[in-house]
Amino acid sequence: MGVLTIIISGVLVGGMYALIAIGLNAVFGVVRVVNFAHGELVVLGMYTAYFAWTVWSVDPYITAVLIALPLGFLVGLVIQRFVVQRLLDEPLMQMFATFGLLMLLQNLFLAFTRGEPKAVRVAASSASLDFFGVSVSVSRLVVLGAAIVVTIILVVFLRQTLYGAAVRAVSQDRGTAALMGINVKVLYMVAFGVSGAIALMAGALMSPIYTASPALGFSFVLPAFAVVVLGGLGSIGGSLIGGLIVGVVEALSGYFLDPALKQAVWFTLFLAVLVIRPAGLFGRAGSEEIGQR
């Protein structure tokens, strides 16, 4: 009973990690850029939802779809166009730049909110369903659902459409793809846009669960990195499964070992997987080498 509750709570948290990781993967897997600021985009989504809720009394779930998605797309586009595009061949400088972006956004949040935590509260915040005697938080279930829906959409898109084929071509070999007439620049902008859109939407969906604060982004982006690497670079389905694995491992180690150690446990696990199989559990072997010399 207790263990079932823990596993379910792990799956639900895993859903959040997965949703954030999918957005991260859209960039990491396609453009091959480590976006350290991805967590800040999620927090931006939370603040957007808070703002819409307090100023216009818009429900966060409506914000997620109608405001966060387009706004996130725009933000992603801007980051790609004005920062990352100029650094495509310079992995070291990319990391410095996105780290700078992390510092910039995090401290802007601090300056604008004075560090005061901002919380949104809707009916779903405390609603729960009964699942074989285990109470399941509705707001978290929504995030898991969103992660699954986004996964399906992206997978179908990548497999079935011409554009998806182009994305796959570019992520495997940028140079050849460009020779084949694919506009890599536009495609990268779209990839970053999609990543930003998913991040802000995730933030808005999570706003009924967490209290938004400037430092929150960092506690989500680390697990998301782990998820992307575990699931495999560029593998959207892998991110979903990786997210669930990280969520459950974290919950179980918190319950059976010590809540203070749960991050350490799955980080160690993550390092181990990374070392044994750098391509991740579901990535094609060697995919981690692509795009690097």
């Binding site: 639900l12 005061e116 919380a119 405390s126 929150l216 918190g254 809540p259 203070a260």
Partner: protein, 414 residues
């Protein structure tokens, strides 16, 4: 052949950088030498070291506001000595050291106060001790600060120990007779603050014969279901939590979702912010106790200066104070002035130490209801924290100790 230039250029650049610093040093007029001597009216300069930037920057700025208000309320002087304040940013430990060096060597401050952050207080006060300048801490709460044998260090504010014992006393004397069983599950954030509070709570409650369960959570945890379930499995009458606003919010929300409803929930140190009410909601928050710095809705006769402080804050800054940081600093600065008064207006380390030992302000004498009596270690012994309780309308009346309770309010379980 141009390769020879590098290090010479570097050296020049280094000189330039340092020279630039030297010239840009903020020359503030009216710096005084000494400022000691009784009976005269030599000015006194007080330095405030606190994080003015970074993660705790907002709190540091609030602290400065509270101290300025307190000084204004005292007519900007102590005895015949006009008093001025100078601030310096102490975001991390090495900043605190540089801040102290600047305050002492360039601003010639007589006393330093602050700090909100423990590392800032630790490093800064050592540096001040080397320069033989007294340090009166108002806001950092780690116990060990006054256990270092540092003679120049005085703390007027509360320790983690005070929060811990206030919450334990509240359980033992306030709740003990009302709950079905004397069983408690204690969960604290695993940083320095929570760890220190939890240790004291455990020992005090065990000594009083309570059945104690123990757990912890990380303040940055993304999920606390494990901590909540561990508490739920222990079936305690009281759930005693220590943390910051965001993690306490998450714990309370998760407890509601997991249908964990102990007879009483007691939060230590935080949890009295409106964001918590907004996030958790009236239904699940009503009845929750908070042991924190005195709130404004407490009995006016218990905390006499708070109404005046609040009015002054609103008038000057035209906004709501951020939590209780500035109120505590307001009280702290009042205490600093009391100590200087007791030292006869002298500000050398010996006089301040001697003065601090002489100070005798009874409970209720400081704006937030505290008194002031400094022990040999430099710690204020007259600190009384109150317990407030969330009501469904989002107010927080004091319910413990009895003398702080406003007429018409009383301690009741949910």
């Amino acid at each position: 052949m141009n390769k020879r230039i590098p290090l010479i250029t570097l050296a020049t650049a280094g000189v330039l950088v340092l020279a630039a610093c030297a010239s840009s040093g903020s020359p503030s007029g009216g710096s005084t030498s000494g400022g000691s001597g009784s009976g005269d009216s030599s000015p006194i300069k007080i330095g405030i070291v606190t994080p003015l930037s970074g993660a705790y920057g907002s709190e540091g700025q609030e602290e400065v506001r509270g101290m300025q208000l307190a000084l204004t309320a005292n007519g900007n002087k102590v005895g015949n000595h006009p008093v001025t304040l100078v601030t310096a940013d102490g975001f991390v430990a090495n900043d605190a050291i540089a801040a102290v060096d600047r305050l002492v060597s360039q601003e010639h401050v007589n006393i330093i106060t602050g700090t909100y952050a423990t590392p800032t207080s630790l490093a800064g006060s050592q540096e001040a001790a080397k320069l033989n300048v007294p340090w009166i801490e108002t806001s950092a709460i780690t116990d060990s600060l006054t256990q270092r044998g540092l003679d120049t260090y005085i703390r007027t504010g509360a320790r983690a120990f005070d929060f811990a014992s206030a919450s334990a006393d509240f359980l033992i004397k306030g709740l003990g007779s009302k709950v079905d069983s004397k069983s408690v599950y204690i969960d604290a954030e695993n940083g320095p603050y929570g760890t220190a509070v939890e240790q004291t709570q455990v020992s005090k409650l065990k000594a009083a014969g309570w059945k104690v369960g123990q757990g912890s959570h990380a303040s940055a945890a993304t999920d606390v279901t494990d901590s909540v379930l561990a508490a739920k499995n222990a079936k305690p009458a009281v759930w005693l939590l220590t943390g910051y606003n965001p993690d306490l919010t998450l714990l309370l929300r998760t407890a509601a979702a997991q249908n964990f409803k102990p007879q009483a929930i007691v939060l230590t140190g935080a949890g009295d912010a409106q964001s918590v009410y907004q996030a958790v909601g009236a239904k699940d928050l009503t009845g929750t106790f908070v042991v924190a710095y005195s709130s404004l809705i407490e009995s006016p006769k218990y905390a006499p200066g708070m109404a005046k402080y609040y009015k002054a804050y609103k008038a000057k800054y035209n906004s709501e104070p951020l939590g209780t940081v500035s109120a505590t600093a307001y009280t702290g600065m009042t205490a600093v002035l009391e100590i200087i008064k007791a030292a006869g207006g002298k500000t050398d380390t010996q006089s301040i130490k001697a003065g601090s030992l002489k100070v005798d302000v009874p409970l209720g004498g400081l704006p937030n209801g505290w008194g002031l009596q400094i022990d040999q270690q430099g710690q204020n012994q007259r600190i009384e924290l109150t317990t407030v309780q969330w009501r469904s309308d989002g107010t927080l009346p004091a319910v413990w100790p009895t003398k702080a309770v406003k007429t018409g309010e009383k301690l009741e379980l949910k």
